[in-house]
Structure formats: structure tokens, C-alpha cells
Symmetry: C2
Subunit: 134 residues, 2 copies
DNA sequence: GACTATTGTACATAGACATTGTACAAATAA
DNA sequence: TTATTTGTACAATGTCTATGTACAATAGTC
């Protein structure tokens, strides 16, 4: 049977489709599930899998390429490349804090307990930093 | 001297102004910094403080009112009301997990260490659940 | 009670953003 | 060379954001 798509987006979730694709693939890259050398599905293939236009996938790939995760070439496809991450900027730190506070407050407002939230945080930490310490 | 505005938004941060206002006031509500009975600034007053149109603030207030945090009435203003939070839905849980994973991956990609991320998480937890256990 | 000021709301407009349709350019395969 | 595959460019369309302006409801003043 065909492989399942590497990402699964939720149209009608409010978030733009291309942003969902970026976020999910970035998570796979950070966790190491996608290693340098790996070839991603073509923009058309993934577009069909997700039910969106191939230009939408292309925009997502381009965003990741600008972050240094991918190399894109016509006729070849999208390949994961080795990447030296930037050093944490004050700007990045501040944005993270801002967004995290908003997200936690939203979760609490939606009825999630602080315990459930902490549990999810730990679970995702294990998923994203499998073994790594930094 | 005049009170500082209760929120501070960052135009040109990508995030819509009204969403930033919603997120920040929601955080104040969740933490208990804004208690039932408290009167918020008028839409026009806050709009001037933030440098946006009053309809933008009005949209933010309406969003919070629909979540049950505020009561809005013409001529009177916006008042914080007691609110029974909903029970956590599977949908809310899934959305939180999704968004948190994206946010953590983005932070890691921007160079933040897992330690710095965990530290920020704990700090915000203390801020939002001052004493409360649930 | 009449009048004015205050405050949230409704709605049309302008601009930015997201997605798509279509055509093109570069690399590969036959 | 020729056909196919794959990413890219660009215009068109629809939706979302922010604003300008006018209106409706409440409070305050005399």
C-alpha cells in the first residue's frame, strides 16, 4: 500500500494550509525524523495527498528552504540538507515567550487543566528532543 | 501620570492586532489579574493607546465576549464577568497539542535550547496559575 | 424631560494575504 | 533529441484585517 503522507493538514482549522505544512515538516526536521539527504515528496504529489494546490505546497517548501532546511531544484525535487541553526536571538526568545503565553492561556480558557498541559509539554519535549540534550 | 495600557501590541509582528489584544487580555483573565467586575478601557481609549482603530479593539472585545469573559453594552463599556469555563473537549486538546508542537519546533529551529524553553514554560506556568492548582 | 456626551455596533471600502489556474524553465530519462 | 518530471512565476479570485463613517443605546447634566 502507498505510504501515508508525511503530514496531515486540517482545512477549516483557520490556520493557512501552507503554514500547517511548514510547521509539521519543521517539527519532523527538528526531531531528526527527516535527516539530511532525505528526499521529500514532490510538490505535486504532496498537494494531491493533502487536497491542495501544488503552489501551496511549493510556498511551504520555499519557506523551509529559506530557513536553511531544504534545497530546492527544478526537475530534481526537495532534499533535506545539513543546517547549522542560528544562535538564539533576543527577538526569537521574546516572540516565543509571547506566543507560548497566548497558547497556554487559550488552553486554560478551553478547560484544559494545568496538569494536562504540563503532561503534553513533557510528551512533546520527548518527541522533539529524542535523546538530545541541547 | 496616566496608567500604562493594559496590553502592548507589536504592529509588524505578523500577528493581527486584534488577535494580539485578545491573547493578552485573555492571559490577564486566566491569571486572575482581571477579576469579575473590573471595567476595561473603552474601545476608543485602548485604540488610542495602541495606535489602532477603535473597531479593531471592538473586534477583540467581541471575541472575548463570545468566549464568556466580558459583557458589552453601548454607553456602558466592557466589564469582566464571572465565567464558568467549558470542560476540555477532545478538539481543544488536539488543537493545543498541534499548536504547541509547532511552537516548540519553531523555537528550537530559532536556536533556543531545550533548557531555555523549559525554563520559560515554568515561568509562564507560575504567572498564569498563581497558586491555583487546576 | 430635553439635551449632550459617551460608548459599543453596523457596514462599506481599501489593502494585504492565501489559494488557485495556467504557463514556463530547468533537470532527468528514454 | 524528445518527452517527462519537477520547481517557479505571475495573474486572478476570494477571504481576512484594518479603517472611515455613521448610527444606536446608555449615562450624565440642566
Amino acid at each position: 500500500m502507498p505510504d501515508p503522507p508525511i503530514v496531515r493538514i486540517d482545512l477549516g482549522s483557520g490556520a493557512p494550509a501552507y503554514a500547517q505544512i511548514v510547521a509539521q515538516i519543521r517539527a519532523l526536521l527538528v526531531s531528526g525524523a527527516l535527516e539530511p539527504g532525505t528526499r521529500l515528496p514532490t510538490v505535486r504529489q504532496l498537494a494531491v495527498d493533502l487536497g491542495v494546490h501544488h503552489n501551496t505546497v511549493a510556498l511551504a517548501y520555499r519557506t523551509l528552504a529559506e530557513e536553511g532546511w531544504l534545497e530546492l531544484r527544478r526537475g530534481r525535487g526537495a532534499v533535506v540538507v545539513a543546517r547549522e541553526g542560528p544562535r538564539a536571538s533576543a527577538r526569537a526568545q521574546a516572540e516565543f515567550s509571547q506566543h507560548l503565553e497566548g497558547l497556554l492561556a487559550k488552553a486554560a480558557a478551553d478547560g484544559l487543566s494545568s496538569k494536562a498541559i504540563a503532561r503534553e509539554f513533557r510528551a512533546l519535549g520527548r518527541k522533539l528532543w529524542k535523546g538530545k540534550t541541547s
